[in-house]
């Protein structure tokens, strides 16, 4: 049972399944009958597998009045199908959790993913359920109503968190036209008003095999897995129409934008966000290195100038990796007694330095090592790998994941400098303050 075999040295041949390509040990296949993409990686030493279906639909695909539809639908996917439902004693959770599977789903800007981390011997259960609910959910009105209050409670939980609000407000301010401006969970009024018919229409637009990728990561036989997936998914029809494009392009920003969130709380925060390109653009990997130079580790520039100097209790920076142009953001929490303005100034000074001159060779090497080590650590476990593949699928190219460390190691000082100059422009930035207030705030 304890397995340490290496992956098969060449790809598998299964009728009805075409081999497409391989990168970093991950093999891409496609179902001939309907275009479902399959990614397979043999990994690990225990007989555990993660099965994940990624649909290339997220809040990016939502229109005015239907914000939150992707997330609402994600919840309803657990309400069942004719075959797997609670009344029959065969709900998704009952079937999968009974064998010890970790089961859940998430929704983000560019994708929705459903996953099961489970004993490898039970994989067929997850494959059957995901295939069945790809086109077969019940989507009953009564389920929509019961789930609406659950989602509103989830919404309220988010409303409790000032930093969550600040994040939403910065994105909403930065994006005036593109759907990245609305929160993934949707606006409250849309959650309250959406109907079963609206959600059915959304489901019937996006939930098809040719808009999905099934990823399998774990200690399991490749050929048998492909047979299993073909058998379960192979009979599902392709989408009858092409997926609708997201036509809206965010107009050029013509000046700095600012937003303030006032909520009850104790500790203030500053978020500064800059418009970036797409994750598939050349600047995205250098911007990951920029984020590390700025805020990863005790020798990072912002840690030294903010935390060590007693201005901030924490600082972080990240480039949101998205399919369409997104945001690079820096976030810091104020130490009591420190003003938002002084924190903003300190952040801006560090950003400006990186615009004015490239990092030293030693600083670049440190950042590359850190990014590469973090990427290696993040391969500890089948779920962690599948989760990262999921994000690469969402932005349009799963090979971003296996090639990531190599691409980080190719980043040079000039790449970092060029990316910093292109991104850190005052007229492209949005500054958000969370200002804590004591007591009730007028709504």
């Amino acid at each position: 049972m304890y397995r340490t075999q290496a992956p098969e040295s060449s790809h598998c041949t299964v009728d009805g399944v075409s081999f497409i390509r391989e990168s970093g040990g991950i093999r891409e296949y496609r179902l001939d009958s309907n275009g479902l993409t399959i990614l397979f990686l043999r990994h690990g030493v225990l007989p555990v597998v993660t099965f994940m279906v990624t649909y290339r639909v997220g809040s990016r695909n939502e229109t005015v009045g239907l914000t939150g539809a992707t997330h609402f639908l994600e919840h309803l996917m657990f309400k069942g199908t004719a075959k797997f439902n609670r009344r029959a004693g065969t709900s998704v959770f009952e079937i999968l959790q009974r064998v010890g599977a970790q089961v859940n789903a998430t929704t983000w800007f560019d994708r929705t993913n459903y996953f099961e981390q489970m004993p490898a011997s039970q994989l067929s259960l997850a494959v059957d359920i995901e295939a069945d609910r790809m086109r077969g959910i019940l989507l009953r009105g009564e389920d929509v109503e019961a789930e609406r209050t659950v989602i509103l409670n989830e919404f309220d939980r988010g409303e409790n968190e000032p930093l969550h609000k600040l994040f939403h407000e910065v994105w909403a301010t930065a994006f005036s036209a593109h759907p990245y401006g609305h929160p993934t969970i949707g606006w409250r009024s849309d959650i309250e008003a959406v109907t079963a018919a609206d959600l059915r229409s959304f489901y019937d637009t996006y939930y098809y095999p040719d808009n999905a990728t099934a990823s399998v990561v774990g200690c399991i036989d490749e050929g048998q897995t492909l047979e299993l997936i073909r058998s379960a998914f192979g009979g599902i029809e392709r989408a009858p129409r092409p997926m609708p494009d997201v036509r809206t392009v965010e107009p050029a920003q013509r000046g700095e934008r600012r937003v303030t969130v006032r909520m009850t709380g104790e500790v203030g925060a500053v978020m500064i966000a800059f418009k970036t390109g797409r994750q598939l653009d050349d600047t995205s990997i250098p911007l990951d290195v920029v984020a590390t130079i700025l805020a990863d580790g005790k020798n990072s520039r912002l840690y030294g100038s903010l935390v060590d100097e007693g201005l901030a209790s924490s600082v972080s920076a990240a480039c949101a990796a998205l399919r369409d142009p997104g945001l690079f953001y820096i976030y810091a929490t104020c130490v009591p007694g420190i003003t938002h303005e002084s924190l903003e100034t300190a952040i801006t000074n560090q950003v400006t330095q990186l615009v004015d001159e490239p990092p030293s060779g030693a600083e670049l090497r440190r950042a590359r090592t850190l990014v590469a080590a973090q990427a290696a650590f993040a391969r500890d476990g089948s779920f962690q790998i599948a989760a990262q593949l999921n994000e690469a699928i969402a932005v349009g190219d799963w090979t971003l994941y296996p090639t990531y460390i190599d691409r980080v190691n190719r980043v040079e000082r000039d790449d970092v400098h060029r990316a910093a100059r292109a991104t850190f422009r005052v007229d492209q930035r949005t500054v958000g303050y969370y200002i804590p207030v004591r007591g009730e705030v007028d709504e």
């Binding site: 409670n153 500790v267 005790k298 650590f377 476990g381």
Partner: protein, 436 residues
């Protein structure tokens, strides 16, 4: 079930377990992974009645901020250059550390962990900055409704001096203000040594090679000779109590419901009660989730837990739920009714079988990373259990009978004594939902 037992046995058989100086070294080699995960701890037994648990937490947070041999920048440069990381944390009875690196760096990393544990600098400026940060986090936690509710429940059931007691934030802030570097240095000198040291290494290492490194780095470390000074028993109340903590601007109310249990991890009813609690609120298929979320649509999340579990002292049984303001009373009444019925009627054979199957499968799935394997090996050893315990756990679950589960529920879960702690924007004009 037998597959999981067999697999666990195979893993245990691969483990190298040996004393190295003051340290119990446990190595589980996976030679192809390229990664190494380290988890370890020493017994340090801070006295919670004296506030030493807070001091120990500050010690843990300062350990990575420089040693008497080199400053924190030099250490950070070394770690960053080899792609390694480590962290320290404080537990009621122990000080823990966790680290990971690529395989070539394991010797350097163990050396740094040893140096930081044994020769920390405790520089005053770093202490001041940390104290400032911790004070900010404590003030921020006064807005965290989940923490407020859970801490209130813990205070209700555990006296100061019990590790499961949670001091109110103002008291924490007061303690923090009275702590200085000398207090930190003094407790480190008196309380942190190699007592009952356990070091677990999982990943791409050779046991003999790593044993030599551990002998070099920890072989001469002496124990501090500390002993447990905490209270071990929960309080008794005998009737339902309710505490509301009003926090403006929080439309989602966090609620913790439950009571202390006169039970430790070593007691025989623990496993039956664990299974029974799992049926009640262990996952999406549990009774609480099925009824309160799926049928009634009252919450995004609800679960019941045995928390503050230890082989040394009593634990807490609690249900945690979030309810929107308008659903608070209805939710609390529904939860109370469900628990009362559940305890009275107990679990069914089918539910017990499913809980066993789930927990056994989950036991396997949760070991799907070197980090989780290392944590499990460490926890098992900290509890003083033999390694075989890890292989025997599935059989232990399988042996539990329905009568034992239901007896444990009737004996330990007391719906009439459940306390309720709720934090958020609570409408005090409504009924209080109490069933006194």
């Amino acid at each position: 079930m037998s597959d999981v037992s067999a697999l666990a046995s195979e893993l245990v058989d691969r483990v190298s377990d040996r004393p190295i100086g003051p340290c119990r070294l446990i190595v589980l080699p996976f030679e192809s992974s390229g990664l190494v995960t380290i988890a370890g701890s020493v017994a340090s037994y801070p006295d919670p009645a004296a506030g030493d648990d807070q001091v120990q937490a500050i010690i843990a947070a300062l350990l990575d901020k420089g040693t008497r041999r080199r400053d924190r920048y030099a250490i950070a440069r070394t770690l960053e250059s080899i792609g390694a990381e480590r962290s320290y944390s404080s537990e009621p009875a122990r000080t823990r550390f966790a680290a990971r690196c690529l395989k070539k760096a394991v010797g350097s990393l163990i050396g740094i962990v040893s140096e930081e544990l044994r020769e920390p600098l405790f520089e005053p400026r770093q202490f001041d900055l940390l104290r400032q940060r911790v004070a900010g986090e404590l003030r921020q936690s006064m807005q965290n409704t989940g923490v407020l509710a859970h801490d209130a429940l813990c205070r209700h059931w555990f006296d100061a001096g019990h590790p499961n007691h949670a001091r109110p934030v103002p008291m924490e802030l007061d303690l923090l203000a009275r702590t200085d570097v000398e207090v930190i240095r003094s407790l480190h000198a008196a309380g942190l040594g190699s007592d009952d040291m356990i070091l677990v290494i999982v990943g791409d290492v050779k046991p003999d090679a790593v044993a030599a490194v551990v002998a070099r780095e920890f072989g001469t470390w002496r124990g501090a000779g500390t002993a447990a000074r905490f209270k071990t028993s929960t309080r008794s109340h005998g009737r339902l109590q309710r505490e509301e903590i009003l926090v403006p601007g929080k439309p989602s109310i966090d609620v913790s419901i439950g009571h202390g249990l006169r039970l430790t991890r070593r007691d025989a009813p623990f496993i039956p009660l664990l299974l029974g609690n799992f049926v009640l609120g262990g996952n999406f298929s549990s009774r609480l989730m099925q009824t309160i979320r799926d049928e009634m649509g009252l919450t995004y999340g609800i679960r019941s837990d045995l928390s503050g579990v230890s082989v040394h002292y009593d634990m807490l049984w609690n249900i945690r739920v979030t309810l929107s303001t308008g659903a608070l009373d209805r939710g609390l009444n529904a939860i109370h009714d469900l628990v009362a019925t559940f305890v009275e009627n107990g679990v069914t054979d089918r539910e017990l079988e499913r809980a066993r199957e789930t927990m056994t499968g989950s036991y396997l799935v949760r070991q799907d990373s070197s980090a989780s394997m290392a944590r499990r090996l460490l926890l098992n050893s900290e509890r003083g259990y033999p390694l075989r315990q890890l292989a025997d756990y599935p059989a232990e679950l399988a042996a539990v009978k329905r009568e034992e589960v239901n007896e444990s529920l009737r004996r330990y879960v007391r719906p009439k004594e459940m306390s309720i702690a709720a934090a958020g924007t609570i409408n005090r004009g409504g009924s209080n939902g109490s069933r006194d």
